[in-house]
Symmetry: C2
Subunit: 151 residues, 2 copies
């Protein structure tokens, strides 16, 4: 018999949703950003220039999700696109000044949230958790090669 409360995929989903929703509230209420938008901004904050394709891979999102998030962010003036002259299929994306300001306001809050969230665990437990997640993710990717994750 499957006891839902003990079923690992279920529990992972519940935990991920709890944290995701709590975080999304910060993104949305304070900065009007969706989770995909946040991932785009976080990627560009980290790497300066990236293409939509890179961002999708980095943020584990579907390319259409990224495309729409990028459009919205561009309209809001938070990121800028510039065609790549060497390969005109691609566009290089980067944060505008305003985009970077938002990133720099948001990043510490995201990290503070993570810190608060994970503070029930000891440092050692945090390391163990990170390692277990890594191994499970690697294994899960092998089990189901294709596919992007939620946004």
């Amino acid at each position: 018999m499957v006891v839902l409360e003990h079923f690992l995929p279920y529990r992972l989903n519940v935990l991920a949703s709890l944290t995701s929703n709590a975080l999304a509230q910060i993104y949305a209420e304070r900065f009007g950003l969706s989770i995909p938008a946040w991932r785009v901004i976080a990627t560009l904050g980290q790497y300066e220039y990236r293409t939509a394709r890179d961002i999708a891979a980095h943020g584990v999102m579907h390319k259409s999700t990224v495309s729409r998030a990028v459009s919205a962010l561009e309209q809001r003036g938070l990121i800028a696109r510039r065609p790549n002259e060497d390969d005109r299929r691609e566009e290089l994306l980067q944060l505008t000044e305003e985009g970077r300001e938002i990133y720099e306001a948001l990043a510490p809050e995201a990290l503070a949230f993570e810190e608060r969230f994970i503070s029930v665990l000891t440092e050692e437990e945090q390391r163990v958790l990170a390692s277990l997640i890594d191994r499970l993710s690697g294994h899960a990717r092998q089990m189901a090669p294709e596919g992007e994750a939620e946004g």
Copy 2:
């Protein structure tokens, strides 16, 4: 700076999505069930009689999600509703014979998937992971009291 690959909420989401998608494929392709539908069936498989409200709480789903899943399952003849004579706002739900057959075919597959999925970890690591997830979930619930999780 937020390094997405190291950011715990992000990593939890990716892992949960990976497992969820892989599992959902089994539910969907083999039995035509969505995740909410699976949770309803799993709950009724476990408890026999339940109200929609119980199922929502047990499966951490929004009541509208449960309502629609229940309607669909009823139409397919997998569950039956019976008004509670003592409180006619409620309806008691239970699996039909066909519903139970599906549950009994699906449950072992779900458990086998879980087993395969978690088999990269030792028994001891599995226990540790379960405990860490429990503590984090409990803590996350305190941080953001309201709210249901994905379906």
